[in-house]
Each structure stands twice: as structure tokens, then as C-alpha cells.
Amino acid sequence: MTFINYASREINCKIVYYGPGLCGKTTNLQWIYEKTNPNAKGKLISLATETDRTLFFDFLPLELGTVRGFKTRFHLYTVPGQVFYDASRKLILKGVDGVIFVADSQVERMDANVEAIENLMVNLKSQGYDLLNIPYVLQLNKRDLPNVATVDEMKQALQRKNPGEPVYEACAARGTGVFETLKGVAKLVLADLTKTQ
């Protein structure tokens, strides 16, 4: 649910990073936080367990600048990946404007990726959204590891749209592909505002 303030000429959009546990969602946010100009970002908030696993969400507000006279803010959220946090994941999808699915490229995580995408579709539906109709991109993360599935295999297993959703290869730990992915979804979100509802 984009919040448009004509009075102060602001647009706020909510973007959610989704994916199985340990795929690198929090790492994406940390990289964005580190590389963003101090006056363009707020605090990175992590509601995490003592062992640094996301408990409820991570949150990073970005105030990037003006497009066409509107101050544009992105609120980035991650969800907790573990299966038993499903209720929390649903809450975070409320009012989402765009979703980035972060897939773990390691062969042994492919089942977890597929399960998480199915879970995303179900949870979006419970909030009244359809994955096929919302701004959505796919990030193939951890491309630096030796035991990864090929890009084609991953597209085959994980793409849901026709024509396929945009795919970005990434190594979030080193920052590769992180901003490309965010830009990709940002563009879809802003372009989507023009669609008739």
C-alpha cells in the first residue's frame, strides 16, 4: 500500500525481502546500509535472536531523493526465514509494494527455495495479493560458492511469471548484485503506481 502524500509531495513504498532461512536477506540490507550516504538512510533495525537469526524483521528506511518532483522513500523489510515464523512473515507482507525473493544458489538449498516461494504465494494470497501481479524480482544469491546450481536450473525451478520475472545474480556478502536487485524492484514499484487498480 503505497502512501502518497500530495501535501508534502512524498511517496513511501514498502519492499520486502523474502526467502528461506540463511539465504542472505539480512546481508542484503546490511550491504545497502553500509553503502548508503548517511543522510539518505535511517537506522538499520534488526529484531533478532541472540544468535543473530531474524526474529521478527529487519527494517531499513531509505530516503533516496526526488523523482519527478516527489520525494521517494523506500522502506526495506526482511522476513524471518524459518518455517515456524510463518505468522510473522504474513504480518510483514501487509501493505507490501514490491517483493524481492532471495534464493540460496547452493544445490542442497533448492528444495528450501521452492518451499519458500510456495509459502510466499500462499501468504501473499492471504493478504489479498497475487505474486503474478505485483512488482517482483528474483535474486540468485551466493553465486560465489562452489556447489551452486546453474542459473538455468534455478530459473527453471523458481521463476513463476510468464514472461519470467527479472533475475539478478548476486553475492550479497561482497555486495555484488545487491543494488542492481533493489533498483530492479524499485523501478517496477514506481512504474506500477501508474496502473489502473
Binding site: 502512501f3 519527478r68 501487509k94 501493505g95 489479498g128 533498483k183
Partner: protein, 165 residues
């Protein structure tokens, strides 16, 4: 899209700012702010210079969402008021017009009773304003098919790049 977008127009924005400024004085409180249920700040008033209002907004919405979830688990529709008591400062959280969160931060110069009383009155006024906004949005949607004239009709890669530069 499932929920209609919130759109804020100049007229209602000024009314809202007026209502929360008055509430701050009437309730003898430090800060009053309004957040939508997704965590986006709508307006804030009071001693906010040293307050991270963006984080406050997001955490408040997370708090309300989690509490709503709890309420439904035990068969309640929602808990309409949340109250957190600290050593010095307290937070009073309530839902307005089913979709907006009103937050009042106060210390020993005020009291829970006074805050509740004043919040009740301000909520009625805010309810009216938000009904007006929804009516306007509906009217706009009916006449044009869209909620608003998007400034991004032809957004380009350059626009996006300049945003992230």
C-alpha cells in the same frame, strides 16, 4: 491491489496536523504521532528533534500487527489500546478509523486517565478526516479508474539510477 492506497491531500493533512498538535497540548504529552498500519509515518508533533520517528513508526506498526495477531488467536477482533509503561516515559497506542495508529508519548506531567480522555476526543475528529479522505479516493477512482495521477508514468532507467547515485 487489495487495500486502497492511502492518499493524503493538502486540506486533510493540515486538519490532521492541527488535531494532533491540539492533542499534544490537551493531553500534556511530549509527542503525538500518527502512523499507518504498514509503518509509514503520517504526521508527528512535539519534541521530535531527538527522536528517530521513522524507526518508531515501523516498530509501532510491527507491535500493533503482532498484537492484532495475538488478538485473533484468542478470538478477539483487536486490542484497541496498547499501553507501555516505562520508568519515566510511557507510550499510549490506539487505532483510529480501523487503519491508522495514534501514538502518544507522555511522562509524569500527564496521566493515563488524561491521555485516554483526550485521545478519545481526538480520535473522533481524526475518524471524520479519514472518512473524508477515503470518500475522495473513492470518488477519484470512480471517475478516472485510478487513485491518482502518477508522476511516474514514463519512469526511465536514468530516473532510477539518479535516485541511487
Amino acid at each position: 491491489m487489495a487495500a486502497p492506497d492511502i492518499v493524503m491531500y493538502e486540506e486533510e493533512f493540515n486538519q490532521i496536523k492541527g488535531i494532533i498538535a491540539k492533542l499534544r497540548v490537551d493531553a500534556n504529552s511530549k509527542v503525538v504521532f500518527l502512523v499507518d498500519k504498514n509503518g509509514q509515518q503520517i504526521a508527528a508533533h512535539g519534541d521530535i528533534e531527538n527522536l528517530d520517528t521513522t524507526s518508531l513508526a515501523s516498530l509501532t506498526a510491527g507491535n500493533v500487527a503482532a498484537t492484532d495477531g495475538l488478538a485473533r488467536l484468542i478470538g478477539e477482533k483487536e486490542f484497541s489500546i496498547l499501553f507501555h509503561e516505562g520508568e519515566k516515559d510511557n507510550i499510549h497506542i490506539s487505532i483510529v478509523a480501523s487503519r491508522v495508529i495514534l501514538v502518544v508519548i507522555f511522562d509524569e506531567r500527564s496521566s493515563l486517565g488524561l491521555v485516554r480522555l483526550r485521545v478519545k476526543k481526538a480520535s473522533e475528529e481524526l475518524n471524520r478526516v479519514f472518512s473524508n479522505i477515503m470518500a475522495k479516493v473513492e470518488k477519484e477512482r470512480a471517475s478516472t479508474g485510478t487513485t491518482f495521477e502518477s508522476p511516474f508514468a514514463e519512469i526511465t532507467d536514468e530516473d532510477i539510477d539518479s535516485l541511487f547515485s
